[in-house]
Amino acid sequence: MYPGVWTTYILILFFSWILVLSVFGCAPGTAWTLVNLGHFAITYHFFHWKKGTPFADDQGMYNTLTWWEQMDNGKQLTRNRKFLTAVPVVLYLIASHTTDYQHPMLFLNTIAVTVLVVAKLPNMHKVRIFGINAGS
């Protein structure tokens, strides 16, 4: 609906990679791993952990739904959802390639991408494993 949301997302990831490189002065592969893990933490918290909306007007109608489940009114497999599922996979590929598939980074990156992609699958809509995060 709003132009430029996808582009802003990609640009934020790119600029945070440059920020990590300039702050820590590490190898590019390590920087991509850090961006991938940071992206994992932030998007997991905002898409799959936080529930409800920032507005009080809807009177708590969405208080049991995470933001991922509220997106596009609950319709699965829309363009937005497909794009947002592809982004962690692409980040994983970039991070693994630039670190040459070396050991500790590969393990962490694989965990990040598995958790994120599984959380975004249509079968996981409104599923709460072991009742974690089921309260309002």
Binding site: Y2, P3, G4, T8, K50, G52, T53, P54, N63, S136
Partner: protein, 490 residues
Amino acid sequence: MVRLPYSTALTTLFSYGLLFAFGHLRDFFRRIIDSRKPTTNLKDYAPICLGHEDFYTRRLFNRVQDCCNRPIASAPDAWIDVIERYSNDGNKTIHRTSKTSRCLNLGSYNYLGFAAADEYCTPRVIESLKKYSASTCSVRVDGGNTKLHIELEELVARFVGKPAAILLGMGYATNSTIIPALIGKGGLIISDSLNHNSIVNGARGSGAAVRVFQHNNIAHLEEVLREQIAQGQPRTHRPWSKIIVIVEGIYSMEGELCKLPEVISVCKKYKAYTYLDEAHSIGAIGKSGRGVCDLLGVDPADVDIMMGTFTKSFGSCGGYIAASKEIIHHLKQTCPAHIYATSMSPPAVQQVISAIKVILGEDGTNRGAKKLAQIRENSNFFRSELKKMGFEVLGDNNSPVMPIMLYNPAKIPSFSRECLRLNVAAVVVAFPATPLLLSRARICISASHSREDLIKGLEVLSKAGDISGIKYFPVEQEKTTSVEKLKKIQ
């Protein structure tokens, strides 16, 4: 819809993202600091609101709340006294001082200048205040039906061009209580996507099914009508009991007129009723001030129900519905705002009667015609000058409402505060009332603005616009030198 440039969309999204991130950071630290404080004595009660529900109000709106709810200390004429305020804690609490500043009023809906004392209206209003007192203290059906109310209903019906009218005490309540009285479960309401909140509220409260068509898109309206008539009611597929299409005369956030002749022809073709909300257009546009039907040449008999308010062009309060005698008779027996709500205050009724008489010229002067010509001239002059300066201004010609696009969330308070500093009172509108990325400053022109007032306003808006960086379009160069060269060649 407004097409915004791509780079502006990126920067606006980035700004909102930054505000959002900082808000969350502050909330995070606040939660840590507050967890050390002792709990209150409301220990086992449910919280009034969960922490993230009022996130938008606390972290985004409170930062700029000095631009809203500004108290005024005079009548909202062309110039207005705004009370100066200060805040010591970053806008969490704002305190009034006893000083006021006299500002040019570009925010009030004072289209014909009736908001301040008027030489014909005010003496009559004071007389009716002495005779009927400030309130009828009763509902219309009990003891609140005075001679003035009956006179105004007949006058409004005559002014608008319909057989009968009904008055209600509040403009918002007119829409939100009349629509449920007209249609219920089993009916269909098709409303424009940019309709006012009162119409949305009334439509939801009625229990009818609601479908939305894209703003001013007649092809989409026809598509929605055809699909809905073919499908019928949701599960049973029975035909709809009735279909009402609701549009507005002037859309107050865009300043655009609706395409009324096309809407009427589509509705006649598919036998749907039309409901026209003329809150902003009655009295302000059209040759004799009779609203959008007058301007676009539509016969009032073709619109089934015409609604309007007295707050904008007539300087009073309240609303009306004008329709056929049978519909008004039905509404008088079913509309809750007529049966249970206090009737309009008699001085307010007298103000509207006098204002309509001035507009129609029945007070014996031509002040009404002069006011109508003045507002048309003022609006067209102001809009063309703003466009020449490079602002992105929405709205059609002849419409007295002109929104100036701001987009970026930081430009909203910057523009508003800069204008107030230079003594112009302008209104800015942001997220819940407009889409997220399309915040704007809304200018309302009045017939009581003189040419000097408008020029001063333009200067101030230009300066504030330069500081905030909202001149998105290129400035039109002066065309005089090229015209002179042409004349010399000839």
